[in-house]
């Protein structure tokens, strides 16, 4: 059994550290940086979405798990992002892949994949600008661009299956899982700029205590109430599912706006 599956819900995309504007958010991460340094986990499962970098409309996996030994930062049109190569964890990633497929999740196994800002920005927020990332990463890409993404319920259940997988890994490892994306935002159309603080607050309130309730939110409600890109929040539920039923909140931060987005940030730990 693993001793610990804490969760970290990150919600910053597209952030540029150098800008003054972002300072309050980066400051909020000081707590989180300290927290992960203390936890010092053996692996991070990073639930994120690819933004037309590794995948395109030619091939859209609903869930894809990165099993490679390393992942190159993607060239998103400005050359590769100047961050360290992302180290993988093939043994554990393959174990999760095999285990979740036998558990009837239809995951796509990926052995070669570039990872874009969706994965590397959360790392930068948590670890700053090191020469090497300090912890191996298992990328778990979720389709949230092509409608329909997986349902919230499916995401929560995948998380539960991942928890079982990590629990049955022959070695006892401390694993942290990041759920990224969201919170409410809309990047397109005449309604662009929609932010729903009430929706987000409710989500943050229930995330620890009543995830099954959040898992019932239909796609249409995300799209309507949290903005067309707010549907990324289903990715948080994968991370939540991987935790115990009972969790305690270690840290919470909510801020509007970063660019066009409400950003929320939550650290939970398992109650044992």
């Amino acid at each position: 059994m693993m001793s610990h599956v804490p969760l970290l819900g990150l919600a910053v995309d597209h952030a540029k550290k150098e800008e003054e504007y972002f300072k309050p958010v980066f400051n909020a991460f000081d707590v989180s940086k300290k927290w992960i340094e203390d936890i010092n986990p053996d692996a991070i499962i990073l639930v994120y979405n690819d933004h037309a970098s590794a995948f395109s409309l030619d091939l859209i996996p609903t869930f894809a798990i990165g099993c490679a030994a390393e992942f190159m930062p993607a060239d998103e049109g400005f050359g590769r992002r100047e961050v360290p190569i992302v180290p993988g964890y093939p043994e554990l990633a393959w174990h999760i892949a095999q285990s979740t497929i036998l558990d009837e999740f239809d995951i796509t196994i990926v052995n070669k994949m570039d990872v874009d800002h969706g994965l590397t920005v959360p790392l930068s927020l948590m670890f700053g600008e090191p020469d090497e990332w300090p912890i191996p990463i298992i990328p778990l890409a979720v389709n949230v661009i092509q409608y329909p993404p997986p349902t919230g319920n499916r995401c929560l259940n995948l998380g539960k299956s991942i928890k079982r997988a990590v629990g049955s890994f022959p070695e006892n490892k401390r694993v942290v899982i990041f759920g990224t994306g969201g919170m409410s935002h809309q990047l397109q159309g005449r309604r662009t700029g929609l932010i729903n603080q009430e929706f987000d607050t409710n989500y943050l309130d229930k995330f620890g205590s009543a995830p099954e309730e959040l898992a019932k939110i239909p796609h249409e409600d995300y799209l309507r109430l949290a903005g067309s890109e707010g549907i990324e929040l289903v990715m948080w539920l994968v991370a939540r599912g991987a935790m115990n039923e009972r969790v305690r909140e270690i840290h919470r931060h909510y801020h509007v706006p970063i660019s066009n987005t409400a950003i929320g940030h939550l650290i939970l730990e398992n109650e044992i």
Binding site: A52, E76, G77, Q186, L194, L223, S228, E229, P257, N260
Partner: protein, 131 residues
């Protein structure tokens, strides 16, 4: 499971569903291609013949030539793909958002700093019809 499209009454929003994805395929793949430097150069040098590499409709090409972001969306564009065109142009994303919203960039920025567009009055097409 039947696929209901009740999301169609969300105002000012394009849900990137099957219909949109099929319609927008060539436009989005065009945008994505601009991630590569060699393609950006080819596009800059001769935008007409570069665009012809993709089987886009005339309306799609027009929307690109005009950098008419809402028209791209109507023609099946997906914002994550479209932002690659903005990136290639060096256009800040905020400018694209403001353009789609129809606001002046400074007004748009003020709205965002003030907490963004409120949900009230912006959830149903019928809300907007009243305006």
């Amino acid at each position: 499971m039947a696929v209901s499209k009740t999301y169609l009454d969300i105002p000012g929003t394009f849900v990137f569903d099957a219909e949109h994805s099929r319609l927008g395929y060539p436009l989005n793949m065009f945008c994505m291609s601009l991630s590569k430097e060699e393609n950006r150069s080819a596009f800059t040098e001769d935008c007409k013949s570069y665009m012809n590499r993709f089987e886009m409709t005339e309306a799609q090409k027009q929307s690109i030539r005009d950098r008419n972001w809402n028209m791209m969306l109507e023609q099946g564009g997906n914002i994550y793909y479209m932002l690659k065109l903005a990136g290639a142009d060096g256009t800040p994303y905020e400018q694209v958002y403001a353009a789609m919203s129809g606001d002046e960039p400074s007004d748009y920025r003020s709205m965002m700093i003030g907490g963004g567009r409120l949900p009230e009055g912006n959830l149903y097409k019928s809300d907007w019809a009243k305006k």
